[in-house]
């Protein structure tokens, strides 16, 4: 048949493309049996699976197909493209269990090319390269941000040391040097009171800095007490009222877990403080079904979770998720513009403390 077609006709070009292109192409008939596949397709799918697909065995495609990416999940079989007719599958991401390379992502398109006979075509273009580039890019930008955040934190500590600690020590030192020139006891007494003031301010500054870096109460007394002192610090410093209820009765967990809960809570509250524009926040800490659960709720601005422009470094939410993943926890953020924000953290208690 090939010889009868002139070499420059469209038919010929299409056949050449079918045979030689790097995209894998499958044709299915109206009942879902495989009818044709090109060379590229043969290279990625196991021969036994191909035979089963030719024979039209029920769900034979699932032997190679690993699922596709929907709005809900990265890999899912929910409302499968192969059976769902109402949805548009002209361009989507598919994961195939290939014969040589394991599970590989593909840019896929599944469409009917012959309405009359119900012939469908599945076309796949390998995505591994693009994914690698994308991941690399993401990794690089994240690393840059993390480094910057680290440097900023050091800058802040260094500045704090210079501005508050060094200053107060210097001023106390000067005042002490001046004492010997004072004319009478009364003046000495007054000056000493002022020095006392400077030094107790200094003491306050140092203990504040140390608590800000990592509260000792987290190690000594546990998450419940650490939160309580952190919240009173927030109230004092920012006037933000935090309604805190805890039902864990001073229960201790392993240090890693407590740190994660504390940092995630701290970050969520800082976010509310910075962006929610509220005067009060509700925090609830309790245990349920072998999980420690932390709720942080505000009735403020809220934001669009799917599409938000990070106002800060953009590391906050990322960091919360990363930390949660470290202890096999889950974090859920419910928010809508104008409807406030609710952060729910759940961390499994593994084998008690």
């Amino acid at each position: 048949m090939k010889q009868t077609v002139p070499s420059s006709s469209l038919h010929n070009y299409l056949l050449k493309m079918y045979d030689n292109c790097s995209e894998a192409i499958f044709f299915f008939n109206v009942v879902g049996n495989l009818v044709h596949l090109n060379n590229a397709a043969k290279q990625i799918v196991d021969i036994e699976v191909i035979e089963k697909m030719f024979l039209g065995e029920t769900n034979a495609i699932c032997l190679t197909c690993h699922g596709y990416t929907s709005e809900e999940a990265l890999v899912t079989c929910k409302s499968c493209y192969f059976h769902e007719k109402s949805r548009d599958f002209s361009s989507f991401q598919l994961f195939l269990n290939t014969k040589n390379e394991g599970i590989v992502p593909y840019a896929a398109s599944f469409q009917t090319i012959d309405e009359q006979y119900g012939i469908k075509m599945l076309m796949l273009r390998p995505l591994t390269k693009q994914m690698e580039t994308h991941n690399k890019l993401l990794e690089n930008t994240t690393v840059k941000k993390v480094i910057k955040a680290q440097e900023d934190e050091r800058k802040r500590i260094s500045r704090e040391l210079h501005d508050s600690v060094a200053q107060e020590v210097l001023s106390s030192l000067l005042e002490i040097q001046l004492v010997k020139y004072l004319p009478n006891e009364e003046a000495v007494h007054e000056r000493l009171q002022q020095i006392e003031g400077s030094l107790s301010r200094l003491l306050d500054d140092i203990s504040n800095m140390s608590v800000e870096l990592r509260p000792a109460s987290l190690d000594d007394l546990g998450i419940e007490a650490a939160f309580r002192s952190h919240f009173s610090w927030i109230e004092k410093n920012y006037g933000l009222e935090i309604h805190y209820t805890s039902e864990i009765n001073g229960q201790r967990y392993n240090s890693e877990m407590e740190t994660v809960i504390y940092r995630v809570g701290q970050e969520a509250i800082l976010n509310a403080l910075k962006y929610a524009n509220v005067d009060e926040i509700f925090v609830h800490l309790y245990e349920a079904e072998d999980n420690v659960i932390l709720h942080i709720i505000d009735q403020g601005n809220g934001f669009n979770l799917a599409n938000y422009n990070a106002k800060g470094t953009g590391l906050g939410l990322f960091g919360m998720k990363e930390r949660t993943a470290l202890v096999n926890g889950t974090i859920q953020i419910d928010t809508e513009i104008g409807k406030g924000t609710k952060v729910v953290l759940s961390v499994p208690i593994e084998g008690g403390i």
């Binding site: 508050s164 006392e196 107790s200 500054d205 004092k236 410093n237 920012y238 006037g239 933000l240």
Partner: protein
């Protein structure tokens, strides 16, 4: 004394047609470390009264520590959104233009007065200079600086 300070800031608010005036606890003892906004006129919330400022933190803390006045014509331009939360009084009172001036007693900063507008650019350089010039007369009971260095 507390009442006279309250009256003093009411007069100042009227004199310069300000939206908001606040003064810290100027009568704290030398060994006390807590700085609070104790007197206010024109406030729209009570949140800032709960705040205990540390020396060096926030508007009051910075002015208290440095002993230098501070002038911000447009707070939105001067403080970005991710640093604004460090100045809760500006957020909760919606101050858009302001200045803060140290109050001295015997060459020591005793307190801080904040004068603000809820409209940007209203605290002009001219007005700021005028306020600074008159500050001694306006706060005659609590403003006393022996060495004036300008």
């Amino acid at each position: 004394m507390a009442r006279s300070i309250q009256r003093m800031i009411e007069n100042i608010k009227e004199k310069y047609a300000l939206d908001f005036v606040a003064v810290t606890n100027v009568y704290m003892q030398p060994y006390e470390t807590n700085l609070r906004w104790e007197y206010a006129v024109g406030n729209i919330a009570e949140r800032f009264k709960r705040i205990v400022l540390k020396s060096g933190k926030g508007i009051a803390g910075i002015v208290y520590k440095t002993g230098k006045p501070m002038h911000v014509e447009n707070t939105e331009a001067a403080f970005t959104e991710d640093t604004l939360f460090n100045y809760p009084i500006i957020v909760s009172e919606k101050i858009k233009s302001m200045c803060a001036i140290p109050l001295y007693e015997q060459n020591r900063v005793k307190g801080v007065v904040l004068l603000g507008f809820r409209e940007k650019d209203k605290m002009t350089v001219e007005l700021y200079d005028k306020i600074l010039e008159n500050i001694e007369a306006d706060f005659q009971y609590i403003y006393h600086k022996e060495m004036i260095t300008k």
